[in-house]
């Protein structure tokens, strides 16, 4: 028999203690090692729509819930498709109206081109929503509504949802909120529409268990159920199926009705980023923050850019929504905003920019080239996503009656150089007289395109920098009222 040498007592002690230490270490390791984050789990940052540039993309769909006014006197709706890729794409547009009629439009969009398609007449005033299916990637879609008081533009969405919260509206005076519930999929949906007002949720019976068949659009007016409410925010939940929610916020600004189209964000998130817009002392910047959780949440509102006043901590009670007005900037300029939850919960947020009278901006100052004044108007925008290196800024016009202001915010510690090109007729053209723009660290800059472009409607601007940055546009009417601040589309 082979002999077995006895292990020495010292060695035995060493081995035994080593095992004990190993076990204790395992317990410690278990507590501190971070688990892999898969990504794609329920939202940490706001799920915003973006342009897919993957060469493998087979088909992408954009949902424009509107509600887009069709065949209303003095109003016109259109859809803007911008192809940032070099190859052309085919677009299939399916329009659904809230009276049940549907029709389809096909179109080809050349590479590096933007195309605006008017939605054909329905011969009956109605509202509509639409789906744009692109046979590939590289395209972004905006919905446009032209009203007597200006044009409102909003990027469409690539997501459907079971829950949507929209920013504050009003039903006092001429104000109203038209909520569009659009089911673009093949599965029937049933939705409940309620309104957060004064800290409580109202669920009108007429807006409960609303059936939405596949491909159908239902438009509901808040004023019908809750008239003369100074502030109310639509809340939509589906009992079954998934839909896209948008609203047309009609605001009475000194007896002048202004409109803003918004597409609801599909999920709550812990961080929201808002594109740079024009700010001034008389321009109110309001943030709508909804806390859907039962517990209170503390959020940090940080303003970035010219005249920014730093970060403010706001406490949002559980299951309530409120409007928080950002402090007035020290001077007119361009300002972006981020809202971050300091705890572990999630929130919904939108931004409203409004003014009841013309606002003086001050023109050229420190690299910015802003118009002298901004007309009255209001615009509600959703989040624009985290900073990226490439953005599509579409939906604006440079005409005799309108212009747009590009805004950039550099959150980096080094300067960035932003290349600005206009996508037109298959080419990406640099703007005349506008070399790559340098934005200093932690500063912002605004440029009125009217100074660099000839008259052109439906402009698609692509901006690229070497580091992630914020970009946005503020459209305004020259000599007329109306402003719009559609969220830009990140390209990736």
């Amino acid at each position: 028999m082979s002999e077995l040498k006895e292990v020495s007592p010292a060695r035995r002690r060493t081995i035994t203690i080593s095992f004990i230490v190993l076990m204790v270490g395992a317990g410690f390791l278990n507590g501190v090692v971070k688990r892999h984050d898969l990504g794609g789990s329920s939202g940490v940052t706001a799920a915003t729509s973006s342009i897919t540039m993957s060469s493998q993309a087979i088909s992408t769909a954009w949902y424009c819930p509107g509600p887009l006014a069709l065949d209303h006197r003095g109003e016109g709706s259109s859809v803007e498709i911008t192809n940032v890729a070099r190859t052309r794409v085919n677009a299939q547009i399916h329009v659904a109206t809230n009276i049940g009629a549907t029709f389809d439009i096909s179109s080809v969009v050349a590479g590096l081109t933007t195309k605006v398609m008017e939605i054909p007449r329905t011969h009956t005033p109605t509202y509509g929503a639409l789906t744009v299916v692109i046979n590939g990637g590289g395209a972004g879609v905006n919905e446009r509504l032209v009203t007597p008081n200006g044009t409102t533009v909003s990027p469409c969405s690539t997501h459907t949802t079971t829950h949507a919260d929209l920013g504050a509206g009003s039903t006092t005076g001429l104000s109203n909120v038209a909520v569009s519930l659009y089911n673009p999929g093949a599965t029937p949906a049933v939705a409940n529409l309620g309104f957060l007002s004064g800290g409580s949720l109202s669920s009108p019976a007429a807006f409960s268990s609303v059936p939405i068949e596949p491909g159908q659009d239902v438009v509901l007016f808040a004023g019908h159920a809750l008239p003369q409410r100074a502030q109310l925010s639509p809340v939509v939940t589906t009992v079954s199926g998934q839909i896209v929610v948008g609203d047309l916020n009609l605001r009475d600004l000194d007896n002048s009705l202004h409109s803003s189209l918004t597409v609801a964000s599909p999920i709550a998130a812990r961080a929201w980023s808002f594109a740079p817009v024009v700010v001034a002392r008389a321009l109110h910047q309001l943030f709508y923050i909804l806390n859907p959780n039962p517990a209170n949440e503390r959020v940090s509102l940080a303003l970035l850019g010219d005249g920014a006043n730093g970060a403010t901590t706001i406490s949002v009670p559980g299951e309530t929504a409120g409007l928080y007005e950002a402090p007035s900037p020290l001077r007119a300029g361009i300002e972006a905003a981020t809202i971050t939850v300091l705890g572990t919960g999630t929130i919904i947020s939108e931004r409203e920019v409004s003014t009841t009278h013309r606002v003086a901006l001050g023109g050229v100052e420190r690299g910015s080239r802003l118009p002298a004044t901004l007309p009255r108007g209001f615009a509600i925008t959703g989040a624009s996503g985290v900073p990226v290196t490439r953005w599509l800024l579409a939906g604006g016009d440079v005409t005799s009656t309108a212009s747009e202001i590009l805004g950039f915010e550099n959150p980096n510690s080094v300067a960035i150089h932003v290349t600005i090109t206009e996508l037109v007729n298959g080419r990406a053209l640099a703007l005349r007289g506008l070399a790559p723009v340098t934005v200093a660290p932690h500063t912002s800059i605004g440029l009125d395109l009217g100074a660099y472009l000839a008259s052109s409607s439906s402009i698609a601007i692509e901006v690229i920098a070497s580091r992630p940055f914020y970009a946005g546009i503020t459209s305004y009417g020259r000599g007329t009222s109306g402003i719009s601040a559609p969220a830009p589309l990140p390209i990736g």
């Binding site: 080593s18 190993l22 395992a26």
Partner: protein
């Protein structure tokens, strides 16, 4: 009854070399109170004539001597021509003792019941209160079925006249005219079966056969108890039972019964070949040869029987027993031995037991046996609800195909697991198919039985593993720890059969690896690495790996890892000589197994390897088991409480107090266990890349190590503790015993559940409609359009799946719900890999027409389960296993996927895109697979034979080694006797 009316009875006593009991037998016949009795003794060619002995008893006894011993029946037939006027014949063996009124009672009963054949109550000669037989039942194959438990205590429970099928031949009263009309006993049947045959023919002739309890006959059972030399007893039994079947049945009945018997005989012959009893196998085949030999004259006998036939086979079959006695005959010796052990008085041998205390030969104390049995019974009771309930469709509880389907899949390959390519199947299909034959096609019962048998086999393996280390107490402790660790029950609850197989196989694999290390106490002599013994170890381990990997392929990875762990343990011990032999054997055996599974392993290289198919798709790291859970073996519903740390803490005792081999092996086993835990954790967290998702499987070595360490701990208490001075060791011992006992409580409590938390409702209940309908909007409604894509968290998918990303896997069911074709893991997703690509496109937002992409694989439905089993509000709640939100968003965004109403947490999408006609995507050709399968089968048979031969050689060597250790001459002699005989002497409990 007046004497003149008493019918004459001729008592025929057949004797052949009778023992000293002969005189008692004849005297008892002579002492009958039946007056009209003639005694005739037939000397069937005894070696020494018995005439003097008969004469010494009484001169009135007639004696006939035969020239040859043709058997009992023919001997009785020899007197039929000598006697005239007999009313009855009483045929007796020479080892019976009749009660004085036995004949009278039987004749009276014959009149009363109008019976053609009457039998007595047979009791033990020495203990008349014990009943030996009271008539016989017979199954449809002519095998006798006991009506009374052997040596059953007579409490008047059989004190009624009974109509029976047969009377045991010890003492049989037959009406003379009946006997003559039947032609007497069958002259071809010498012994064993002549009584059944006679009574069977009597039934066919319309006669009644009864047993009367009022006639008592003592029987020595000289033949059955082997007091006579009868080397051919079983061969004769088979032969004569078959003869009765082929002779007495007619028409369709004969065809059916002979066919059934043929199948049973084939299985028996194969069984004997496998266990190495070739002689028995030959006897089974010879029985057929003998019966169908031309000289048997079957046709003549059938014709003669046809002339007296009054009853149909159908009527006679109603008198037969419905159960088959043939299978029971194999189990009966073992069961009876067990029962004898319970009742045997061991005092006679206690001195010998005390003296012969060699390693592995200790006597198992009664309380140890009781503890093991009670533990096992409690666990079986814990699964009581599963006996009648059906297993839900969760995990791997899939309905098995039929036996013929399994066998044909093995031979010809299968497009299994939803793939469209023909690929080989592992030998698991063959094994299940063969076992399915034994279960007569009841595959559901087979699955249920297999679950518990697997765990029991694992326990048995652990007993063998612990045997070299310690006394029976240690083995008991180890087995109880093994059974009461939560791992097996977690595997049951989640339907993880692969992990269960691994848990059952690990003790055997570990035993081989530990033996391969050539360390005490396993091996007495150290062998060089390249030696015949090493190759023998490789062979036997390779066979074991191959068989178990057929069911759980990851075992081919698990075994080398265990070897690495054991080797590292040796390094920790600072052994200068690194135990390369263990690694060498493990790697060699794994390679051999891969070669033996060649058709299946070949398909690894045809379409690329998906490791997840072998190791299980990785689960979401967010929900994967953490280190603490792994240490507690909490990979399911069990193991969560603080008590679950008990057995783990107990396993540490051997490191504190153990010495010598116990400490050394304790270190090795702890190292191996920690390696297993580490690997499982890394895999679950996704740090090992794709796959490694089956935590329950990879943690099995750790669990077995714990059980083994508990056993070593008990050995340490018994061996090492007594040599140490009083101190902390004693305190540690108390703690060890306490925590180990407490560690069994959680599973003990789980037995209350009745079904070990296996959910009652599976996806088959919720989604049964899917097998009945096709997609409503598809233009083609055909079986092809019912292919279902199951996608989501791998732990929620009830079929074998392939990984897309950690926490996301998919599988395809060909016919709606998953079935047995989705049970066997395939190495690659041949032909279905583009499904993963399509899903990726949908998740990245690159397509809104996923349905169209999936239509190329005729996918009609997508099902996204979000929990291990359906969650039904108010009735069933199971662990959640959610799919990634990104996937859910992607699916709801698709234009051509229509979400259907559903419940239970499973999301269902109907593909509204029209399915495209399918094509087979490559794979191995069927003729090639058939050829490979046949080669593989022959290879396994060859390996099996070599392995059995090697095993016998090793056993012989071990016996010689033990004999070398024996010092006492008496013990040596006894050991030799045991070695030669191989059977335990009755009444002695010796563990060898």
């Amino acid at each position: 009854m007046p004497e003149e009316q008493i019918p004459p009875v001729v008592a025929v006593v057949v004797a052949h070399d009778p023992g000293p009991w002969f005189e008692e037998c004849v005297e008892s016949v002579l002492a009958q109170d039946y007056t009209n009795l003639v005694i005739l003794v037939v000397d069937a060619a005894s070696t020494e004539p018995i005439a003097p002995r008969v004469a010494a008893i009484s001169p009135q006894i007639y004696l006939q001597r035969l020239d040859r011993n043709a058997g009992f029946g023919p001997s009785v037939n020899s007197v039929l021509g000598l006697v005239e006027g007999a009313g009855y014949y009483l045929a007796c063996h020479d080892d019976v003792v009749l009660a004085p009124d036995a004949v009278r009672r039987m004749v009276e009963e014959a009149f009363r019941s109008n019976a053609g054949i009457v039998g007595p109550k047979l009791v033990d000669v020495n203990e008349p209160e014990l009943i030996l037989q009271f008539g016989l039942g017979v199954d449809r194959f002519g095998a006798p079925v006991r009506r009374v438990e052997h040596r059953e205590f007579d409490q008047a429970q059989h004190d009624e006249v009974r109509e029976v099928f047969a009377i045991p031949g010890a003492a049989t009263l037959v009406r003379a005219d009946l006997l003559l009309s039947l032609g007497g006993f069958d002259p071809e049947i010498s012994m064993f079966g002549e009584d059944v045959d006679l009574c069977w023919r009597a039934h066919i002739a319309g006669a009644r056969v009864v047993a009367t309890p009022f006639a008592i006959v003592g029987h020595r059972e000289a033949a059955a108890s082997r007091q006579r030399e009868l080397p051919e007893a079983r061969a004769l039994q088979w032969r004569h039972e078959l003869r009765a079947v082929v002779k007495n049945y007619e028409g369709t009945h004969r065809i059916l019964r002979v066919g059934e018997l043929m199948l049973l005989s084939m299985i028996e012959a194969l069984y004997f070949v496998i266990i190495g009893h070739r002689r028995r196998s030959r006897e089974v085949i010879d029985a057929w040869r003998w019966n169908f030999a031309p000289q048997q004259g079957l046709r003549d006998y059938r014709s003669a029987l046809a002339e007296v036939r009054r009853e149909s086979d159908h009527a006679v079959a109603e008198l037969m027993s419905s159960r088959t006695s043939r299978l029971w005959r194999y189990l009966q010796p073992g069961v009876e031995q067990l029962s004898r052990r319970w009742s045997t008085n061991r005092d006679v041998f206690s001195n010998w037991q005390d003296d012969h205390r060699g390693r592995g030969n200790e006597v198992r104390p009664r309380w140890v046996t009781n503890a093991m049995w009670i533990s096992a019974i409690l666990l079986i009771i814990g699964g009581r609800s599963l006996i009648s309930a059906h297993l839900p469709l969760i995990g791997q509880y899939l309905p098995l195909p039929t036996t013929t389907s399994l066998l044909s899949q093995y031979i010809g390959g299968s497009t299994h697991a939803g793939t469209q390519a023909l690929s080989p199947v592992t030998p698991a299909a063959l094994l299940l198919g063969l076992v399915g034959i034994v279960f007569v096609g009841a595959m559901g019962v087979l699955v249920k039985v297999s679950l518990f048998i697997a765990i029991a086999c694992g326990g048995l393996g652990l007993v063998r593993l612990v045997r070299p280390f310690g006394p029976p107490t240690a083995r008991c402790a180890a087995v109880i720890a093994y059974l009461y660790l939560p791992l097996a029950w977690n595997d049951l609850a989640s339907g993880d059969l692969s992990a269960l197989v691994a848990y059952a196989a690990t003790p055997y694999l570990l035993a081989r690896l530990m033996r391969a290390g050539a360390r005490p106490p396993f091996v007495l002599h150290s062998y060089p690495i390249r030696s015949k013994e090493t190759y023998g170890e490789i062979l036997s381990l390779g066979i074991l790996i191959g068989l178990t990997a057929s069911f759980a392929p990851a075992i081919v990875i698990l075994t080398p890892l265990m070897a690495v762990g054991l080797t590292l343990g040796a390094v920790v011990l600072s052994r200068r000589e690194i135990e390369l032999r263990t690694l060498f054997v493990a790697c060699g055996a794994t390679l051999l197994a891969l070669v033996a599974l060649a058709p299946w392993t070949l398909s690894l290289f045809t379409h690329g390897v998906n490791l997840g198919a072998l190791t299980g798709s990785a689960t979401d790291p967010q929900s994967a088991a953490q280190l603490g859970q792994l240490f507690r073996l909490q990979v399911g519903p069990y193991g969560s409480g603080p008590l679950s740390w008990g057995l783990l803490l107990g396993a540490g005792y051997v490191l504190i107090t153990g010495r010598s081999v116990r400490f050394a092996w304790g270190v090795r086993l702890w190292t191996m266990g920690l390696v297993a835990v580490c690997l499982t954790w890394l895999g679950a967290q996704g740090w090992l890349g794709l796959g490694w998702g089956n935590s329950g499987l990879f943690i099995a070595p750790f669990a077995v190590a714990i059980a083994l360490l508990i056993g070593l701990g008990v050995t340490t208490v018994l061996e090492d503790l007594r040599r140490s001075t009083f101190g902390l060791r004693q305190l540690a011992t108390v703690i060890f015993i306490g925590v180990s006992l407490v560690g069994t409580f959680p599973i003990l409590a789980a037995t209350l559940n009745g079904r070990y938390d296996i959910p009652a409702t599976g996806y088959d209940t919720l989604l049964s409609w899917i097998n009945r309908t096709g997609p409503t909007k598809s233009s083609v409604s055909s079986p092809a359009s019912r292919r279902v894509l199951w996608i989501g968290n791998p732990s929620a998918l009830p079929l074998v799946s392939w990984e897309i990303s950690p926490g996301l896997a998919y599988g395809v069911a060909t016919n709606g719900l998953p079935d047995g074709t989705n049970l066997f893991p395939t190495p690659s997703a041949a032909g279905l890999a583009h499904i993963a690509t399509a899903i990726g496109l949908a998740e990245s937002g690159s397509t809104v027409h996923l349905g169209e992409l999936l239509a190329k694989d005729q996918i009609g439905y997508l099902i996204l389960p979000t929990s291990v089993a359906p969650n039904l509000l108010g009735s069933q709640s199971t662990a959640a296993a959610p799919a990634p939100q990104l996937l859910l968003n992607a699916l709801t965004n698709q234009d051509d996927l229509h979400q259907l109403p559903s419940e239970g947490g499973a999301l269902i999408f109907e593909n509204t895109a029209a399915p495209v006609a399918g094509t087979t995507h490559g794979g191995l050709g069927r003729p090639f697979i058939i050829a490979l399968s046949i080669i593989e089968l022959f290879g396994w048979l060859r390996l099996g034979r070599i392995g059995l031969r090697e095993r016998r050689i090793r056993q012989t060597k071990r016996r010689h080694d033990r004999q070398e250790r024996a010092t006492d001459e008496h013990e040596t002699g006894f050991a030799h006797a045991l070695a030669e005989d191989g059977n335990a002497v009755e009444g002695v409990e010796v563990i060898v």
